[in-house]
């Protein structure tokens, strides 16, 4: 589903004098597979995730998503691909606070240029146990609920790849368990590839496939 070859990225320090390169190991993840991307802060987990999601262009190397080299895509095509194929889950601040839960979810198909089905919203919210929060504002949610809404938003377009960046590090043990379980479950159900970047050791026992940066 997604495969990388010889990815490197160059970090620039503020003055541009000091810069260092980071070389990422090659990856190959198929649909239905899940991977844990482990590493300490600053080891480049987020950068790799952004490279995979097309939010950042690599210095060298190649990323193929469904056999398409994403370097060959224009900026607009990349935006389109991202909207339809990839679901992102971030650590926090990931929901648009001016909108209700329902409208936050509908943003995903709207921005990806796909039809907006309210039944799909109901279905996904049901699955994540958030039915009664459909018309709630974001500030009315707890952190665990907000993270579940973010997962709902990531999967509403039925993506083939789910990229999660530290999805559990702001959560307590109970919510952490729930979130990683849900992520796993929805990825399996949608037959999507799942890559979770984290330094959260609680997750180590949850996903077998691990890459350490």
């Amino acid at each position: 589903m997604i495969a990388t070859q010889g990815l490197t990225h160059r970090y620039h320090s503020k003055k541009g004098v000091l810069s260092h390169e980071i070389v990422f190991p090659d990856l190959a993840v198929e649909r239905g597979e899940s991977f844990l991307l482990l590493g300490n802060s600053g080891s480049g987990k987020t950068t790799l995730l952004h490279l995979l999601g097309g939010l950042l262009r690599p210095l060298t190397g190649k990323i193929e998503i469904e056999k398409i080299d994403i370097a060959s895509l224009s900026e607009t095509e990349l935006d389109r691909m991202r909207g339809r194929q990839i679901g992102f889950v971030f650590q926090r601040n990931h929901l648009i606070s001016a909108l209700t839960v329902k409208n936050n979810l509908l943003m995903a198909p709207f921005l990806a240029g796909e039809k907006q089905h309210e039944e799909r919203v109901d279905l996904v919210l049901d699955e994540l146990g958030l039915r009664e929060k459909k018309n709630a504002m974001i500030f009315e949610l707890s952190q665990g609920q907000a993270q579940r809404v973010a997962i709902a938003r990531a999967i509403i377009n039925k993506p083939s790849l789910i990229l999660a960046d530290e999805p559990t590090s702001a959560l307590d043990d109970k919510n952490c368990d729930q979130v990683i379980e849900l992520l796993n479950k929805v990825a399996m159900e949608n037959n999507a590839a799942l890559i979770v970047a984290t330094h959260d050791h609680r997750l180590k026992s949850r996903l077998k496939n691990q890459i350490i940066l």
């Binding site: 950042l56 995903a108 921005l111």
Partner: protein
Amino acid sequence: MSIQLLIWNYFKAKKLNTGLNILLLSLGIAMITLLILFNNQLEEKMTNNSKGIDLVVGAKGSPLQLILCAVFHVDFPTGNIKLREADRLAKHRLVKYAIPLALGDSYQGFRVVGTNRAYSSLYQADLASGDWWEKDLEVTLGSSVAQLTKLKVGDHFESAHGLTKDGHAHDENKYVVKGILKQSGTVVDNLILTTISSVWKEHAESSSDSTMQQLPTSPSLLVSSVEASDSIREITSLLIKYKNPIAAIQLPRFINTQTSMQAASPAFEMARLFTLLGVGADALMGFAYVLIFISGLSIFIALYSSLKERRYDMAIMRSMGASRSLLFKTIILEGSILTFVGASLGLAFGHLVLGVFVHLMEEGQKAGLTAGVFYAEEAVILVGSVVLGVFCSLLPAIQAYRVDIHKVLASN
């Protein structure tokens, strides 16, 4: 979900800020609208009222006063002129026609004008009911006069000296209403028209008038009931239409230097008045523009600072597939919707204020102002506001266009 719904929700999330911006802009626009409505209507009235009058001749004094008095009927006469002299001028070879006016009285603030039928036809006045004034002490009322004084055909009334409601009443002779005119949108609407000799009768010593009863052998050109050689009778002013363009050069100079009367041109005096009033109007206009500038600045600041808060939202939206141009469009739309709504409210507010003013104040009604007309300038204002909105949101929109998704998301 749609852009409109997204923008609406952003507005809702900042109700106070949005409301303040709209209020500021609409105040400025309302002020400009009011000035436009006022100025345009006043100018229209003035050109309508002075149509067909090239020159006004009256007693020496302020030329502006003469025009305001004889054409617009808002000021007092400068004095009287001898009928004999006016007659002589009316026969001048450069004069196409001359209409005599005898002023002095009013009824409930509406002026009684002694004149002939040439005056009513100058304004193309038509009868709505009754008949034209024919004999002395018969009057025909303008439409506003009839409306506001509730006088009907056949009613009697006493006029008072001067232009105020509580002037000295001439209770010896009562006027009788012969007819009422249709609304013409000119100064005639506010006048009570009668014969010149009626005005003389009101002011004459009651006994000395008996000699006037027989018809004159050689009647005066302006007032046919008087001998042309009469040396006592006076009128207030004479409205003159030139026969040819040469008259515009020769006639005023002739009158001002060779006679004891003065001549004033309505066009020239009005232009002078407008330059005087213009200072005030310009100051108000300037103030309105300052308000609009401030509201523009306020909208810019609001968009710019909300952009800082929304950088994360935007990066998230990009990660969900939003293109750069969509974010750009969203911000531009946000700014222009804000100014469009503000301007529309301002226009409505301007018309409303004028409507209330006209409704509550008799002066507004008398001046013939109305809130129901729209001018091309208002469309320009609306378009201009949208341009202002686009302009104010341009810089924030460019910033939104340039948001570096990776940096914003990684910095968290």
